[in-house]
């Protein structure tokens, strides 16, 4: 009898068609701005609830024995441009971090000066948005301290990190708000696992903002800009991945 086989085939075909319609329906729904924005507004819920429950809680720190044998370098593995290559060749001896925007006192801080500020050393887990994790030790001055030296103006709300790497044809950048900027684990790391940062990990400095996912931890930072709004900086969404692919600006989850 061929009837049951036919009907089973028809059943599978109907199921596949139904599934396909459902899927394309979901994709179509997602392209509706109102629906997309509703789903994406979950980000505000995450930020508000995490901040309410977490306050200024510290990210977990680990023992030296728990450090990953090999720390995966992700995103750009090298800085871009002749200036960067020259600084890299000179061991960043003539390089300086620019701090500007809404500050009373714009700064150009040489790497040696960053190293001479009080240092924080922390062994933390780096959680990539893709799902993998690596544990490493980071050392550098508190971002909050650097901002205090520059004297942030009262209307400032965001800190934007301009980076020396070009990823997929566009310059990398990231941003955080003042709460994370003044978190006691937010540092400008110039050393990783006891050695100066390698190029693949973002030499000369990489932001560590420990309670957020990896893409917030900007590498190759060479300018810090304090701002009142994120509008007007590249795509206006506060970061390379936020602009390019619609990743959440608040990446604590």
């Amino acid at each position: 009898m061929s009837l049951p086989i036919l009907s089973r085939r028809a059943l599978i075909r109907t199921g596949a068609l139904g599934g396909g319609l459902l899927l394309s329906g979901c994709d179509k729904l997602y392209r509706q701005p109102a629906f997309h924005d509703l789903l994406a507004s979950g980000e505000n819920l995450h930020r508000v609830s995490q901040r309410a429950l977490g306050g200024q809680a510290l990210a977990r720190e680990f023992a030296a024995s728990e450090v990953s044998p090999q720390f995966r370098a992700n995103g750009s593995r090298e800085g871009a441009g002749a200036d960067y290559k020259r600084h890299l060749a000179q061991g960043f001896a003539n390089w300086a971090l620019q701090v500007d925007g809404l500050v009373e006192r714009p700064l150009a801080i040489p790497l040696a000066a960053l190293k001479s500020l009080p240092q924080r050393i922390q062994i933390t887990r780096h959680d990539c948005v893709e799902g993998w994790s690596a544990i490493g030790q980071w050392q550098g001055p508190l971002l909050g301290q650097v901002l205090d030296v520059a004297r942030v103006r009262p209307e400032a709300r965001y800190v934007v990190f301009h980076c020396a790497d070009i990823y997929g044809g566009a310059p990398y950048y990231e941003s955080i708000d003042m709460i994370d900027a003044h978190h006691p684990q937010t540092i400008l790391a110039w050393a990783m696992n006891g050695r100066p940062l390698e190029e693949a990990h973002g030499a000369p400095i990489r932001l560590r903002v420990e309670r957020q996912l990896g893409y917030k931890h900007a590498k190759f930072v060479n300018r810090i800009e304090v701002r009142q709004t994120l509008a007007g900086v590249y795509g206006g969404k506060g970061g390379y991945w936020e602009d390019r692919s619609g990743y959440a600006w608040y990446a604590g989850i």
């Binding site: 596949a16 599934g19 396909g20 899927l23 394309s24 979901c26 994709d27 997602y30 997309h36 509703l38 789903l39 994406a40 507004s41 979950g42 980000e43 819920l45 995450h46 995490q50 429950l53 977490g54 306050g55 809680a57 510290l58 990210a59 977990r60 680990f62 728990e66 990953s68 044998p69 090999q70 720390f71 995966r72 887990r125 959680d127 990539c128 948005v129 893709e130 799902g131 993998w132 994790s133 690596a134 544990i135 420990e210 309670r211 957020q212 996912l213 991945w241 692919s245 619609g246 990743y247 959440a248 604590g252 989850i253």
Partner: protein, 286 residues
């Protein structure tokens, strides 16, 4: 008018599921489908699972989906299964070859986008968590948990459970008034979903959040680390898929129209029992 439960006999149309149960059932059905498919998209971003706190490409993965040339594979421990066409390498609706772990028909969105998968997943996570919380509190208050899910001491007896297992294996389902009560296997399955699998999904999901890990480190530590939590999250998702498969099979076997109607309108036609033997009718006749 519907018949009171205790007096129900085969053929009666009775009230079966409360409005709260029906609402939550369908909301949860949609939510779990979205969570599964967007979750598979998120898995596609890094199709490897580890135990412990950390785990990335240089570390040992206990599960991996990938491809060697044109051959897709699923590796679990030392066991490697060929999965060409389904996992690791497959062809999309336009006939293009794709090498992501789970195929487009199983993911949300269809085309690879970790960012969009996360938007779906993390928005519906709120629906899942708040929906479960409301349903459990409501069911505690209205007695649903005590009356229908609570497993009595008599039901915990191995002989009773074994009897139910045999009845299920023979596809012999209760009839008459007995069909209106959950049997012990049903209670176990529903209790496992309500009190074990869904809470575990939520807890392991939160355990993966670096923000939550700062203020509730225990959520991550109880699982032995973030990567372990991710592995448990994945395993519990498939346990829920397993529950779904058995659930659908039982609905089909028990009479899909009646069962689905009961979950939509709340009304259920009591299944009639087999015709009683003549002598027993004679005996009980007045």
């Amino acid at each position: 008018m519907s018949t009171p439960e205790a007096a129900a006999v085969g053929g009666d149309l009775v009230k079966r599921h409360r409005l709260s149960t029906r609402l939550w059932h369908w909301l949860n059905a949609v939510t779990l489908l979205v969570m599964l498919m967007s979750g598979l998209m998120i898995f596609n971003a890094h199709p490897r699972l580890y135990w412990g706190e950390y785990g990335a490409n240089f570390d040992h993965a206990w599960l991996e989906i990938g491809h060697h040339g044109p051959h897709g594979y699923l590796r679990i421990g030392t066991l490697t299964l060929p999965t060409t066409g389904v996992l690791g390498i497959w062809t999309d609706a336009q006939g293009r070859t794709d090498v992501h772990a789970f195929p487009g028909w199983a993911t949300l969105p269809t085309a690879y986008s970790l960012a969009d998968g996360r938007v779906w997943h993390l928005a519906f996570a709120w629906v899942l968590a708040l929906g479960l919380l409301c349903y459990l509190l409501w069911s505690l208050a209205n007695g649903h948990l005590r009356r229908d899910i609570h497993i009595t001491r008599a039901e915990w007896r191995p002989t009773h459970i074994w009897h139910d297992v045999k009845e299920h294996a023979r596809l012999r389902f209760p009839t008459g008034a007995a069909a209106l009560r959950y049997n012990v296997l049903q209670k176990l399955a529903y209790a496992a979903v309500l009190f074990l699998l869904l809470p575990l999904m939520i807890l392991t999901g939160l355990a993966m959040s670096p923000g939550t890990d700062a203020w509730a480190p225990l959520a991550t530590e109880v699982f032995g680390g973030r990567q372990s939590a991710r592995s448990v999250h994945f395993l519990c998702a498939w346990a829920l898929v397993g529950f779904f498969a058995v659930h659908i099979a039982m609905v089909l076997l028990a009479g899909p129209i009646n069962e689905v109607r009961a979950m939509i309108t709340g009304r259920y036609r009591v299944p009639p029992g087999p015709p009683e033997p003549l002598e027993s009718i004679g005996e009980s006749a007045p």
